[in-house]
Protein backbone atom coordinates (compact mmCIF):
# COMPACT_ATOMS: atom_id res chain seq x y z
CA UNK A 1 0.00 0.00 0.00
CA UNK A 2 1.29 3.45 -0.92
CA UNK A 3 2.33 5.48 2.09
CA UNK A 4 0.63 8.83 2.65
CA UNK A 5 4.08 10.33 3.21
CA UNK A 6 7.41 8.74 2.46
CA UNK A 7 10.58 10.68 3.16
CA UNK A 8 13.95 9.18 2.29
CA UNK A 9 17.36 10.47 3.37
CA UNK A 10 16.13 14.05 3.23
CA UNK A 11 18.95 16.54 3.64
CA UNK A 12 18.65 20.32 3.59
CA UNK A 13 21.67 22.54 4.05
CA UNK A 14 21.71 26.32 4.22
CA UNK A 15 25.39 26.92 3.59
CA UNK A 16 27.11 25.56 6.67
CA UNK A 17 23.85 25.14 8.55
CA UNK A 18 22.48 21.61 8.33
CA UNK A 19 18.72 21.97 8.80
CA UNK A 20 17.91 18.36 7.88
CA UNK A 21 20.54 15.63 8.21
CA UNK A 22 18.90 12.64 6.55
CA UNK A 23 15.26 12.34 7.57
CA UNK A 24 13.63 8.97 6.96
CA UNK A 25 9.94 8.70 7.64
CA UNK A 26 6.93 6.74 6.51
CA UNK A 27 3.41 7.82 7.44
CA UNK A 28 0.66 5.35 6.64
CA UNK A 29 -2.63 6.29 5.07
CA UNK A 30 -5.34 7.10 7.57
CA UNK A 31 -3.23 7.70 10.65
CA UNK A 32 -2.80 10.82 12.72
CA UNK A 33 0.94 11.12 12.91
CA UNK A 34 2.67 13.38 15.40
CA UNK A 35 5.85 15.18 14.41
CA UNK A 36 7.46 16.36 17.58
CA UNK A 37 10.46 18.52 18.31
CA UNK A 38 11.48 21.89 19.67
CA UNK A 39 11.85 24.99 17.55
CA UNK A 40 14.70 24.65 15.09
CA UNK A 41 14.69 20.84 15.11
CA UNK A 42 13.66 20.68 11.44
CA UNK A 43 9.88 20.18 11.62
CA UNK A 44 8.87 23.17 9.50
CA UNK A 45 11.76 22.63 7.07
CA UNK A 46 10.53 19.08 6.45
CA UNK A 47 7.02 20.36 5.84
CA UNK A 48 8.25 23.11 3.52
CA UNK A 49 10.08 20.51 1.42
CA UNK A 50 6.87 18.48 1.18
CA UNK A 51 5.09 21.59 -0.11
CA UNK A 52 7.94 22.39 -2.53
CA UNK A 53 8.43 25.79 -0.92
CA UNK A 54 12.10 24.89 -0.54
CA UNK A 55 14.20 22.35 -2.37
CA UNK A 56 16.12 19.59 -0.61
CA UNK A 57 19.88 19.35 -0.91
CA UNK A 58 19.41 15.60 -1.38
CA UNK A 59 16.87 12.91 -0.67
CA UNK A 60 13.22 12.81 -1.57
CA UNK A 61 9.72 13.20 -0.21
CA UNK A 62 6.57 11.73 -1.71
CA UNK A 63 2.90 12.19 -0.92
CA UNK A 64 0.74 9.22 -1.96
CA UNK A 65 3.51 8.30 -4.36
CA UNK A 66 3.77 11.77 -5.94
CA UNK A 67 7.24 13.27 -5.71
CA UNK A 68 6.98 16.55 -3.81
CA UNK A 69 9.45 18.28 -6.15
CA UNK A 70 8.99 16.61 -9.52
CA UNK A 71 5.20 16.29 -9.31
CA UNK A 72 4.68 19.08 -6.84
CA UNK A 73 1.34 20.31 -8.16
CA UNK A 74 -0.11 16.79 -8.05
CA UNK A 75 1.28 16.35 -4.55
CA UNK A 76 -0.10 19.67 -3.34
CA UNK A 77 -3.54 18.84 -4.72
CA UNK A 78 -3.60 16.05 -2.14
CA UNK A 79 -2.59 18.32 0.73
CA UNK A 80 -4.43 20.75 2.97
CA UNK A 81 -1.86 22.86 4.77
CA UNK A 82 -2.00 24.97 7.88
CA UNK A 83 1.21 26.99 8.38
CA UNK A 84 2.45 27.67 11.89
CA UNK A 85 1.53 31.36 11.62
CA UNK A 86 -1.17 31.70 8.99
CA UNK A 87 -1.23 35.02 7.15
CA UNK A 88 -3.97 36.04 4.73
CA UNK A 89 -4.28 38.75 2.11
CA UNK A 90 -5.43 42.00 3.72
CA UNK A 91 -8.95 43.41 3.54
CA UNK A 92 -10.57 40.02 2.95
CA UNK A 93 -13.18 38.37 5.11
CA UNK A 94 -12.63 34.77 6.17
CA UNK A 95 -15.33 33.76 3.66
CA UNK A 96 -13.44 35.61 0.92
CA UNK A 97 -10.27 33.74 1.90
CA UNK A 98 -12.07 30.38 1.63
CA UNK A 99 -13.57 31.30 -1.75
CA UNK A 100 -10.22 32.59 -3.05
CA UNK A 101 -8.37 29.43 -2.05
CA UNK A 102 -11.07 27.22 -3.58
CA UNK A 103 -10.75 29.24 -6.81
CA UNK A 104 -6.94 28.95 -6.81
CA UNK A 105 -7.29 25.20 -6.32
CA UNK A 106 -9.87 25.16 -9.12
CA UNK A 107 -12.30 23.41 -6.83
CA UNK A 108 -15.88 23.97 -5.82
CA UNK A 109 -16.31 25.59 -2.41
CA UNK A 110 -18.39 23.34 -0.18
CA UNK A 111 -20.43 26.06 1.54
CA UNK A 112 -22.29 23.64 3.79
CA UNK A 113 -19.03 22.22 5.14
CA UNK A 114 -17.62 25.75 5.49
CA UNK A 115 -20.64 26.79 7.52
CA UNK A 116 -20.39 23.67 9.67
CA UNK A 117 -16.72 24.28 10.42
CA UNK A 118 -17.17 28.00 11.17
CA UNK A 119 -20.05 27.13 13.51
CA UNK A 120 -18.14 24.39 15.31
CA UNK A 121 -15.02 26.54 15.70
CA UNK A 122 -17.10 29.61 16.58
CA UNK A 123 -15.66 31.83 13.90
CA UNK A 124 -17.39 34.92 12.55
CA UNK A 125 -16.34 34.38 8.96
CA UNK A 126 -17.82 37.65 7.73
CA UNK A 127 -15.22 39.72 9.58
CA UNK A 128 -12.09 40.99 7.88
CA UNK A 129 -9.10 38.79 8.63
CA UNK A 130 -7.16 41.98 9.48
CA UNK A 131 -9.29 42.45 12.58
CA UNK A 132 -9.14 38.85 13.83
CA UNK A 133 -7.24 37.74 16.92
CA UNK A 134 -4.37 35.24 16.70
CA UNK A 135 -6.71 32.43 17.68
CA UNK A 136 -9.36 33.37 15.14
CA UNK A 137 -6.77 33.62 12.37
CA UNK A 138 -5.69 30.13 13.38
CA UNK A 139 -9.29 28.97 12.93
CA UNK A 140 -9.36 30.52 9.44
CA UNK A 141 -6.13 28.66 8.65
CA UNK A 142 -7.55 25.38 9.92
CA UNK A 143 -10.81 25.74 8.00
CA UNK A 144 -9.07 26.60 4.73
CA UNK A 145 -6.90 23.50 5.15
CA UNK A 146 -9.90 21.27 5.90
CA UNK A 147 -12.35 22.64 3.33
CA UNK A 148 -11.04 20.83 0.23
CA UNK A 149 -11.32 17.57 2.22
CA UNK A 150 -7.81 16.60 1.09
CA UNK A 151 -6.54 13.07 1.71
CA UNK A 152 -3.58 14.54 3.65
CA UNK A 153 -3.68 17.34 6.19
CA UNK A 154 -0.36 18.89 7.14
CA UNK A 155 -0.88 20.96 10.25
CA UNK A 156 2.00 22.96 11.71
CA UNK A 157 1.25 23.80 15.34
CA UNK A 158 -2.51 23.65 14.71
CA UNK A 159 -3.85 24.58 18.12
CA UNK A 160 -1.65 27.61 18.79
CA UNK A 161 -3.76 30.40 20.23
CA UNK A 162 -6.90 28.30 20.58
CA UNK A 163 -8.77 28.03 23.86
CA UNK A 164 -9.21 24.54 25.40
CA UNK A 165 -12.82 24.15 24.22
CA UNK A 166 -11.91 24.92 20.63
CA UNK A 167 -8.83 22.69 20.92
CA UNK A 168 -11.13 19.83 21.91
CA UNK A 169 -13.38 20.62 18.95
CA UNK A 170 -10.36 20.61 16.62
CA UNK A 171 -9.38 17.20 17.96
CA UNK A 172 -12.91 15.93 17.26
CA UNK A 173 -12.80 17.34 13.72
CA UNK A 174 -9.46 15.65 13.09
CA UNK A 175 -10.72 12.33 14.44
CA UNK A 176 -13.72 12.60 12.12
CA UNK A 177 -11.37 13.33 9.23
CA UNK A 178 -9.33 10.26 10.19
CA UNK A 179 -12.51 8.19 10.24
CA UNK A 180 -13.12 9.29 6.64
CA UNK A 181 -9.64 8.03 5.74
CA UNK A 182 -7.76 11.32 5.91
CA UNK A 183 -4.14 11.19 6.99
CA UNK A 184 -3.11 13.90 9.42
CA UNK A 185 0.51 15.01 9.80
CA UNK A 186 0.45 16.85 13.08
CA UNK A 187 3.53 18.90 13.82
CA UNK A 188 3.70 20.26 17.32
CA UNK A 189 5.86 20.92 20.31
CA UNK A 190 2.89 20.43 22.66
CA UNK A 191 3.52 16.84 23.60
CA UNK A 192 0.38 16.30 25.61
CA UNK A 193 -1.66 17.22 22.56
CA UNK A 194 0.25 14.83 20.30
CA UNK A 195 -0.07 12.07 22.90
CA UNK A 196 -3.78 12.72 23.09
CA UNK A 197 -4.66 12.59 19.42
CA UNK A 198 -1.94 10.81 17.47
CA UNK A 199 -1.63 7.11 16.73
CA UNK A 200 2.11 7.32 16.08
CA UNK A 201 4.70 10.01 16.55
CA UNK A 202 8.26 10.81 15.55
CA UNK A 203 10.71 12.80 17.59
CA UNK A 204 12.92 15.02 15.50
CA UNK A 205 16.13 16.38 16.89
CA UNK A 206 18.77 18.48 15.13
CA UNK A 207 17.45 17.54 11.71
CA UNK A 208 17.21 13.81 12.40
CA UNK A 209 14.41 11.45 13.42
CA UNK A 210 15.59 10.02 16.72
CA UNK A 211 12.58 7.83 17.44
CA UNK A 212 9.30 6.79 15.89
CA UNK A 213 6.82 5.02 18.09
CA UNK A 214 3.31 3.73 18.24
CA UNK A 215 1.66 5.63 21.05
CA UNK A 216 -0.69 2.79 22.03
CA UNK A 217 2.23 0.36 22.08
CA UNK A 218 4.25 2.92 23.97
CA UNK A 219 1.56 3.15 26.60
CA UNK A 220 1.57 -0.64 26.91
CA UNK A 221 5.35 -1.01 27.15
CA UNK A 222 6.29 2.16 28.96
CA UNK A 223 7.00 1.91 32.67
CA UNK A 224 4.46 3.12 35.18
CA UNK A 225 5.63 5.66 37.72
CA UNK A 226 4.23 5.22 41.21
CA UNK A 227 4.58 8.05 43.69
CA UNK A 228 3.78 7.12 47.28
CA UNK A 229 3.46 9.22 50.42
CA UNK A 230 3.70 7.06 53.56
CA UNK A 231 2.24 7.70 57.00
CA UNK A 232 5.75 7.60 58.39
CA UNK A 233 9.17 7.47 56.73
CA UNK A 234 10.10 3.87 55.83
CA UNK A 235 13.33 2.56 57.25
CA UNK A 236 16.38 2.33 55.00
CA UNK A 237 16.36 -0.85 52.95
CA UNK A 238 12.62 -1.29 53.32
CA UNK A 239 12.33 -1.68 49.56
CA UNK A 240 15.34 -3.85 48.84
CA UNK A 241 14.65 -6.82 46.62
CA UNK A 242 11.54 -5.46 44.98
CA UNK A 243 11.64 -8.07 42.29
CA UNK A 244 11.88 -8.07 38.54
CA UNK A 245 10.49 -5.02 36.76
CA UNK A 246 10.18 -2.84 39.87
CA UNK A 247 12.75 -0.23 40.78
CA UNK A 248 12.94 2.35 43.55
CA UNK A 249 13.80 5.66 41.90
CA UNK A 250 13.89 7.85 45.00
CA UNK A 251 13.16 7.74 48.71
CA UNK A 252 13.17 10.95 50.69
CA UNK A 253 11.47 11.11 54.07
CA UNK A 254 7.89 9.90 53.67
CA UNK A 255 7.93 10.04 49.89
CA UNK A 256 9.09 7.38 47.44
CA UNK A 257 8.93 6.99 43.68
CA UNK A 258 8.96 3.63 41.93
CA UNK A 259 9.22 2.62 38.31
CA UNK A 260 7.32 -0.51 37.30
CA UNK A 261 7.66 -2.47 34.08
CA UNK A 262 4.88 -4.98 33.68
CA UNK A 263 2.64 -6.00 36.55
CA UNK A 264 2.22 -3.66 39.51
CA UNK A 265 1.00 -6.49 41.76
CA UNK A 266 4.35 -7.15 43.50
CA UNK A 267 4.79 -3.51 44.44
CA UNK A 268 1.24 -3.20 45.78
CA UNK A 269 1.84 -6.18 48.05
CA UNK A 270 5.09 -4.65 49.38
CA UNK A 271 3.41 -1.30 49.97
CA UNK A 272 0.67 -3.04 51.97
CA UNK A 273 3.17 -3.53 54.79
CA UNK A 274 3.24 0.26 55.27
CA UNK A 275 0.71 2.96 56.02
CA UNK A 276 0.06 4.66 52.71
CA UNK A 277 -1.38 8.18 52.91
CA UNK A 278 -1.39 8.90 49.20
CA UNK A 279 -0.57 7.04 46.00
CA UNK A 280 -0.42 8.17 42.39
CA UNK A 281 0.32 5.79 39.53
CA UNK A 282 0.80 7.22 36.06
CA UNK A 283 2.09 6.15 32.68
CA UNK A 284 5.29 7.55 31.25
CA UNK A 285 4.36 10.61 29.25
CA UNK A 286 5.55 11.48 25.81
CA UNK A 287 7.18 14.45 27.45
CA UNK A 288 9.34 12.17 29.58
CA UNK A 289 10.33 10.15 26.53
CA UNK A 290 11.05 13.36 24.70
CA UNK A 291 13.22 14.66 27.52
CA UNK A 292 15.09 11.33 27.63
CA UNK A 293 15.91 11.74 23.95
CA UNK A 294 16.92 15.34 24.34
CA UNK A 295 19.15 14.66 27.32
CA UNK A 296 21.23 12.22 25.28
CA UNK A 297 24.41 13.74 23.88
CA UNK A 298 24.37 12.04 20.51
CA UNK A 299 21.14 11.44 18.65
CA UNK A 300 20.86 7.80 17.65
CA UNK A 301 19.03 7.63 14.36
CA UNK A 302 16.04 5.39 14.16
CA UNK A 303 13.94 4.47 11.24
CA UNK A 304 10.24 3.98 11.05
Amino acid sequence: MTAAIEIRELVKDYGRVHALRGINLRVETGEIFGFVGPNGAGKSTTIRVMLDLIRPTSGSATVFGQDCQRDSVLARRLIGYLPSSPVFPPRMSANDVFAHIAAVRGEHLDEAYRDELTRRLRLDSTRSVDTLSRGNRQKVGLIQALLPRPPLLILDEPTTGLDPLIQAEVEDILREAKARGTTVFFSSHILEEVEHICTRAAIVREGRIVDVFDLAEQRRLAPIHVEVTFGQAPRAGAFDGLGEGVRLLSLAGRRATFEVHGSIDGLVKRLAAHTVDHLVARETTLEELFIQHYRGDEPAEASS
Partner: protein, 276 residues
Protein backbone atom coordinates in the same frame (compact mmCIF):
# COMPACT_ATOMS: atom_id res chain seq x y z
CA UNK B 1 -15.60 31.68 -9.70
CA UNK B 2 -12.92 33.47 -11.73
CA UNK B 3 -10.89 31.38 -14.14
CA UNK B 4 -7.91 33.53 -13.21
CA UNK B 5 -8.31 33.99 -9.46
CA UNK B 6 -4.72 35.08 -8.81
CA UNK B 7 -4.89 37.74 -11.53
CA UNK B 8 -8.32 38.92 -10.37
CA UNK B 9 -7.13 39.15 -6.78
CA UNK B 10 -3.89 40.92 -7.72
CA UNK B 11 -5.78 43.44 -9.84
CA UNK B 12 -8.19 44.01 -6.97
CA UNK B 13 -5.30 44.71 -4.63
CA UNK B 14 -3.81 47.16 -7.16
CA UNK B 15 -7.05 49.01 -7.75
CA UNK B 16 -6.27 52.06 -5.62
CA UNK B 17 -2.70 52.28 -6.91
CA UNK B 18 -4.08 52.21 -10.44
CA UNK B 19 -6.75 54.77 -9.62
CA UNK B 20 -4.40 57.29 -8.00
CA UNK B 21 -1.64 56.95 -10.59
CA UNK B 22 -4.22 57.36 -13.37
CA UNK B 23 -6.07 60.20 -11.69
CA UNK B 24 -2.91 62.10 -10.78
CA UNK B 25 -1.38 61.89 -14.24
CA UNK B 26 -4.76 62.41 -15.93
CA UNK B 27 -5.48 65.62 -14.03
CA UNK B 28 -1.92 66.86 -14.47
CA UNK B 29 -1.94 66.14 -18.24
CA UNK B 30 -5.36 67.72 -18.72
CA UNK B 31 -4.23 70.74 -16.70
CA UNK B 32 -1.17 71.18 -18.91
CA UNK B 33 -3.36 71.10 -22.03
CA UNK B 34 -5.82 73.60 -20.55
CA UNK B 35 -2.95 75.94 -19.63
CA UNK B 36 -1.34 75.85 -23.07
CA UNK B 37 -3.16 78.95 -24.43
CA UNK B 38 -2.15 80.89 -21.33
CA UNK B 39 1.52 79.86 -21.58
CA UNK B 40 1.77 80.06 -25.36
CA UNK B 41 3.35 83.53 -25.61
CA UNK B 42 5.42 83.08 -22.51
CA UNK B 43 6.83 79.83 -23.88
CA UNK B 44 8.05 81.62 -26.99
CA UNK B 45 9.99 84.03 -24.77
CA UNK B 46 11.42 81.21 -22.67
CA UNK B 47 12.49 79.29 -25.73
CA UNK B 48 14.23 82.41 -27.04
CA UNK B 49 16.21 83.03 -23.83
CA UNK B 50 17.09 79.47 -22.82
CA UNK B 51 20.21 77.87 -24.29
CA UNK B 52 19.42 74.86 -26.42
CA UNK B 53 21.52 72.66 -24.06
CA UNK B 54 19.15 73.41 -21.20
CA UNK B 55 16.12 72.70 -23.36
CA UNK B 56 17.81 69.51 -24.51
CA UNK B 57 18.14 68.46 -20.91
CA UNK B 58 14.36 68.46 -20.68
CA UNK B 59 13.75 66.55 -23.87
CA UNK B 60 15.09 68.82 -26.52
CA UNK B 61 11.70 69.56 -28.05
CA UNK B 62 10.57 72.92 -29.37
CA UNK B 63 8.46 74.08 -26.47
CA UNK B 64 6.67 76.76 -28.50
CA UNK B 65 4.73 74.05 -30.31
CA UNK B 66 1.88 72.17 -28.54
CA UNK B 67 3.63 68.84 -29.04
CA UNK B 68 6.95 70.22 -27.74
CA UNK B 69 5.21 71.84 -24.79
CA UNK B 70 3.37 68.63 -23.77
CA UNK B 71 6.57 66.61 -24.26
CA UNK B 72 8.54 68.94 -21.97
CA UNK B 73 5.88 69.64 -19.39
CA UNK B 74 4.23 66.26 -19.23
CA UNK B 75 5.28 63.35 -21.39
CA UNK B 76 8.96 63.00 -20.48
CA UNK B 77 8.14 63.14 -16.78
CA UNK B 78 4.91 61.11 -16.93
CA UNK B 79 6.66 58.13 -18.50
CA UNK B 80 9.03 58.02 -15.52
CA UNK B 81 6.02 58.04 -13.17
CA UNK B 82 4.42 55.22 -15.16
CA UNK B 83 7.67 53.26 -14.91
CA UNK B 84 7.55 53.71 -11.15
CA UNK B 85 4.01 52.25 -11.14
CA UNK B 86 5.30 49.24 -13.07
CA UNK B 87 8.13 48.71 -10.58
CA UNK B 88 5.96 49.19 -7.48
CA UNK B 89 3.28 46.86 -8.80
CA UNK B 90 5.66 44.18 -10.10
CA UNK B 91 7.88 43.97 -7.03
CA UNK B 92 4.79 43.78 -4.83
CA UNK B 93 3.59 40.62 -6.56
CA UNK B 94 6.35 38.19 -5.57
CA UNK B 95 8.72 39.88 -3.13
CA UNK B 96 5.89 41.88 -1.53
CA UNK B 97 3.68 38.84 -0.99
CA UNK B 98 6.63 36.85 0.26
CA UNK B 99 7.53 39.61 2.71
CA UNK B 100 4.06 39.77 4.22
CA UNK B 101 3.84 35.97 4.39
CA UNK B 102 0.94 35.36 2.00
CA UNK B 103 2.98 33.78 -0.79
CA UNK B 104 3.57 30.62 1.25
CA UNK B 105 -0.17 29.97 1.60
CA UNK B 106 -0.68 30.55 -2.11
CA UNK B 107 2.17 28.29 -3.21
CA UNK B 108 0.97 25.55 -0.88
CA UNK B 109 -2.03 25.24 -3.22
CA UNK B 110 -1.89 23.16 -6.41
CA UNK B 111 -0.77 25.92 -8.75
CA UNK B 112 2.48 26.09 -10.71
CA UNK B 113 4.82 28.95 -10.00
CA UNK B 114 4.88 29.93 -13.67
CA UNK B 115 1.06 30.10 -13.75
CA UNK B 116 1.02 32.15 -10.57
CA UNK B 117 3.58 34.55 -11.99
CA UNK B 118 1.82 34.81 -15.34
CA UNK B 119 -1.47 35.71 -13.65
CA UNK B 120 0.26 38.30 -11.49
CA UNK B 121 2.11 39.78 -14.47
CA UNK B 122 -1.18 39.95 -16.37
CA UNK B 123 -2.69 41.92 -13.48
CA UNK B 124 0.22 44.38 -13.48
CA UNK B 125 -0.11 44.87 -17.24
CA UNK B 126 -3.89 45.20 -17.03
CA UNK B 127 -3.27 47.86 -14.37
CA UNK B 128 -0.89 49.67 -16.73
CA UNK B 129 -3.55 49.65 -19.47
CA UNK B 130 -6.16 50.94 -17.02
CA UNK B 131 -3.87 53.78 -15.91
CA UNK B 132 -3.38 54.77 -19.55
CA UNK B 133 -7.15 54.62 -20.03
CA UNK B 134 -7.75 56.90 -17.03
CA UNK B 135 -5.10 59.32 -18.29
CA UNK B 136 -6.82 59.27 -21.68
CA UNK B 137 -10.01 60.43 -20.00
CA UNK B 138 -8.00 63.50 -18.96
CA UNK B 139 -7.03 64.08 -22.60
CA UNK B 140 -10.66 63.61 -23.58
CA UNK B 141 -11.67 66.28 -21.08
CA UNK B 142 -9.12 68.80 -22.33
CA UNK B 143 -7.73 68.37 -25.87
CA UNK B 144 -11.04 68.80 -27.77
CA UNK B 145 -11.69 72.08 -25.94
CA UNK B 146 -8.29 73.76 -26.35
CA UNK B 147 -6.80 75.27 -29.49
CA UNK B 148 -3.72 73.17 -30.15
CA UNK B 149 -3.25 74.82 -33.53
CA UNK B 150 -4.27 71.61 -35.24
CA UNK B 151 -0.76 70.27 -34.57
CA UNK B 152 -1.67 67.96 -31.74
CA UNK B 153 -4.79 65.82 -31.71
CA UNK B 154 -6.58 63.80 -29.06
CA UNK B 155 -5.45 60.62 -30.80
CA UNK B 156 -1.80 61.78 -30.70
CA UNK B 157 -2.06 62.24 -26.95
CA UNK B 158 -3.81 58.93 -26.36
CA UNK B 159 -1.32 57.19 -28.65
CA UNK B 160 1.64 58.64 -26.75
CA UNK B 161 0.08 57.61 -23.45
CA UNK B 162 -0.47 54.00 -24.49
CA UNK B 163 2.96 54.19 -26.12
CA UNK B 164 4.41 54.00 -22.63
CA UNK B 165 3.23 50.39 -22.29
CA UNK B 166 6.35 48.77 -23.79
CA UNK B 167 8.69 50.58 -21.39
CA UNK B 168 6.32 49.77 -18.51
CA UNK B 169 6.40 46.13 -19.56
CA UNK B 170 10.21 46.24 -19.62
CA UNK B 171 10.49 47.70 -16.12
CA UNK B 172 7.72 45.47 -14.76
CA UNK B 173 9.67 42.45 -16.03
CA UNK B 174 12.76 43.83 -14.31
CA UNK B 175 10.66 44.23 -11.14
CA UNK B 176 9.58 40.58 -11.38
CA UNK B 177 13.19 39.48 -11.93
CA UNK B 178 14.50 41.40 -8.94
CA UNK B 179 11.47 40.25 -6.94
CA UNK B 180 12.46 36.67 -7.74
CA UNK B 181 16.09 37.03 -6.67
CA UNK B 182 16.24 39.80 -4.03
CA UNK B 183 15.88 39.11 -0.32
CA UNK B 184 13.05 41.63 0.08
CA UNK B 185 10.65 43.82 -1.83
CA UNK B 186 12.43 46.92 -0.56
CA UNK B 187 15.73 45.82 -2.07
CA UNK B 188 14.07 44.79 -5.35
CA UNK B 189 12.07 48.02 -5.75
CA UNK B 190 14.95 50.28 -4.72
CA UNK B 191 17.29 48.73 -7.28
CA UNK B 192 14.84 48.87 -10.18
CA UNK B 193 13.71 52.42 -9.35
CA UNK B 194 17.36 53.49 -9.10
CA UNK B 195 17.98 51.93 -12.51
CA UNK B 196 14.92 53.69 -13.95
CA UNK B 197 15.95 57.09 -12.59
CA UNK B 198 19.52 56.55 -13.74
CA UNK B 199 18.16 55.67 -17.20
CA UNK B 200 16.11 58.87 -17.23
CA UNK B 201 19.04 61.04 -16.17
CA UNK B 202 21.42 59.31 -18.58
CA UNK B 203 18.99 59.83 -21.48
CA UNK B 204 18.50 63.51 -20.58
CA UNK B 205 22.24 64.22 -20.17
CA UNK B 206 23.11 62.31 -23.34
CA UNK B 207 20.64 64.45 -25.25
CA UNK B 208 22.17 67.69 -23.93
CA UNK B 209 25.88 66.86 -23.95
CA UNK B 210 27.26 65.80 -27.30
CA UNK B 211 30.43 63.99 -26.11
CA UNK B 212 28.30 61.59 -24.09
CA UNK B 213 25.45 61.30 -26.56
CA UNK B 214 26.32 57.61 -27.01
CA UNK B 215 25.14 57.08 -23.43
CA UNK B 216 21.51 57.32 -24.54
CA UNK B 217 21.80 53.87 -26.06
CA UNK B 218 22.55 52.45 -22.64
CA UNK B 219 19.37 53.97 -21.25
CA UNK B 220 16.17 51.91 -21.29
CA UNK B 221 14.26 55.18 -20.95
CA UNK B 222 15.70 56.42 -24.26
CA UNK B 223 13.99 53.55 -26.09
CA UNK B 224 10.61 54.57 -24.67
CA UNK B 225 10.52 57.45 -27.19
CA UNK B 226 8.99 59.57 -24.42
CA UNK B 227 10.92 62.64 -25.57
CA UNK B 228 10.20 62.08 -29.26
CA UNK B 229 6.81 60.40 -29.55
CA UNK B 230 4.78 63.58 -30.02
CA UNK B 231 7.38 65.51 -31.99
CA UNK B 232 8.99 62.90 -34.22
CA UNK B 233 6.77 59.87 -33.79
CA UNK B 234 7.71 56.57 -32.21
CA UNK B 235 10.35 54.18 -33.43
CA UNK B 236 8.72 50.79 -33.98
CA UNK B 237 12.12 49.12 -33.58
CA UNK B 238 12.67 50.69 -30.19
CA UNK B 239 9.20 49.69 -29.03
CA UNK B 240 9.63 46.17 -30.34
CA UNK B 241 13.07 46.02 -28.71
CA UNK B 242 11.63 47.01 -25.33
CA UNK B 243 8.90 44.40 -25.60
CA UNK B 244 11.40 41.71 -26.66
CA UNK B 245 13.82 42.63 -23.88
CA UNK B 246 10.94 42.69 -21.41
CA UNK B 247 9.85 39.21 -22.46
CA UNK B 248 13.41 37.86 -22.15
CA UNK B 249 13.75 39.38 -18.68
CA UNK B 250 10.34 37.98 -17.74
CA UNK B 251 11.45 34.52 -18.88
CA UNK B 252 14.56 34.85 -16.70
CA UNK B 253 12.37 35.98 -13.80
CA UNK B 254 10.19 32.88 -14.24
CA UNK B 255 13.24 30.60 -14.17
CA UNK B 256 14.56 32.32 -11.04
CA UNK B 257 11.17 32.19 -9.33
CA UNK B 258 10.86 28.48 -10.14
CA UNK B 259 14.05 27.90 -8.18
CA UNK B 260 13.40 30.37 -5.37
CA UNK B 261 13.30 29.10 -1.82
CA UNK B 262 10.31 30.84 -0.30
CA UNK B 263 10.87 33.02 2.77
CA UNK B 264 14.63 32.35 2.81
CA UNK B 265 15.23 36.14 2.78
CA UNK B 266 18.53 35.91 0.92
CA UNK B 267 19.74 36.80 -2.56
CA UNK B 268 18.86 33.86 -4.76
CA UNK B 269 20.14 33.72 -8.29
CA UNK B 270 19.50 30.12 -9.22
CA UNK B 271 18.86 30.28 -12.91
CA UNK B 272 20.48 27.10 -14.01
CA UNK B 273 20.09 24.80 -11.06
CA UNK B 274 17.85 22.04 -12.24
CA UNK B 275 15.13 20.43 -10.20
CA UNK B 276 16.08 16.95 -9.15
Amino acid sequence: MSRFPVAAHALGELRWVIFWFGLGLGIYGAGMVWLFPLFEDYLTEVAATYPQEILDLFGGADMTTPQGYITLEYQSFAVLVLIIYAVVAATGQLAGEEGRGTLEGLLAQPITRSRLMLEKASAVLAGAVLICAIISLGWLASAPFVDLRGELTLLDLIGATFGALPVMLFFAALGFLLGAIAPSRGAAAALVVAFAVASYIAASLAQAIEPISWMRYLSAYHYSDAARWLTEGPSPWYQAGLVAAGLVIYALATLCFEQREIAARTWQFRLLRRKR
